[in-house]
Symmetry: C2
Subunit: 225 residues, 2 copies
């Protein structure tokens, strides 16, 4: 049985508790929906936040599962991460909330914060597994259709694991939480749903053959017409 | 004349220079398109990254303009920010890149990193201006249609300014940069465009009257049918 979210003081939601989510299965759905994580590392005396692809193994070797990041071995943020505490934040924007006052404007969103000590992945089998997960997170099923990575490619790629144990999540849905006086005053209030949609896959000029089923399925799952 | 991007060592793109953007006008377009920033602050001995709405004043009082953040005065990250170095990262995901190898999978994106010393905004006029910009960033023109903020609302809201001077930006477009041998091998390669679209505005059950033109215009601008 998996640990509820917010297992530690540093992942405790202190503000906006009504938006806090503690059911870990909701975190896994968010991580499945989202395509980009924002990774915070300490570089020197300041925080650095960079966007990154990621992959998730709910049964990974770390407590409550593993989130994998990758990048060039030359990337400063990846070199700074191992053994340091990192913060991986994943956000899906679901809507704009137009309140009847500036104060009650808001957004509908799901956002998770994962805090943990990053682990450099050395084991070749775990590295390959992590890279497959990252590719399949972008296009499910794709990794099985590709040639194996070369030794040179693997040597150029750093893989970092972050335990999913220390995580918190917030979610907001619906319309504005306006003041009764503003509602009575007749100002319009509501929300505008937002979602991500895919266009038709664009083959390279020298792409061989038809768009493969995995790519088509991904685009359709993301709403391509 | 505005400063080109990457004006300092800490905003210098060391890796992936071919994706670096130095034209500041492209940063301003990205900040206009994006709705959420990921803000990194140092909290104790670790980085914390949280999603946030934001507003931009290209002619703000800080060097090269001002990015405004707001939140509850009780929020720990906002209390940690003033006088500290913060990192504000804004990313728009524009597509998935399906390479002919795992190594050449990528994403199309625009991402900016703004680094600076956060300034707590005390001046009432600047605070009101910042809050209007944040509302109008969500729904252009909306702030002019709303009642003024109350003293209580203003007292509950912290506003932080970050100079836009120290910023860098990267952009990736198009298909994969595959190995010639993989292209010759006939594996399919291409990309899947992604974009954010709005649905039809959803009025509150007790919303007064028709959807106002600013909200309709925003939804249409974001692709609502």
């Amino acid at each position: 049985m998996s640990t509820p979210l917010e297992p530690t003081a540093r992942t405790r939601t202190n503000r906006g508790r009504r938006r806090a989510v503690v059911d870990r299965s909701r975190l896994m759905v968010l991580l499945d929906d989202a395509l980009v994580a924002h990774v915070g590392v300490q570089v020197g005396d300041r925080p650095l936040v960079l966007p990154s692809a990621f992959g998730v193994d709910p049964d990974g070797p770390d407590r409550d599962g593993t989130l994998y990041l990758h990048g060039s071995v030359a990337a400063g943020w990846l070199r700074a991460a191992p053994a340091a505490t990192v913060c991986v934040t994943v956000t899906e924007l679901d809507g704009l909330v137009a309140g009847r006052s500036a104060f009650h404007h808001s957004m509908n969103y799901r956002s998770a914060v994962v805090v943990g000590e990053a682990r450099l992945v050395d084991d070749p089998a775990e590295r390959q597994h992590a890279l497959d997960l990252i590719v399949d997170h972008m296009v499910p099923g794709r990794s099985a259709t590709l040639r194996p990575s070369t030794r040179k490619e693997l040597a150029a790629t750093a893989v970092v694991a972050v335990p999913l144990h220390e995580a918190s999540m917030k979610e907001r849905t619906g319309g504005p939480g306006d003041e009764p006086a503003d509602v009575a005053g007749g100002t319009w209030g509501g929300h505008v749903p937002l979602r991500r949609v895919a266009g038709t896959p664009v083959p390279d000029p020298d792409a061989g053959g038809e768009v493969p089923p995995d790519v088509t399925a991904r685009a359709v799952a993301l709403g391509a017409g």
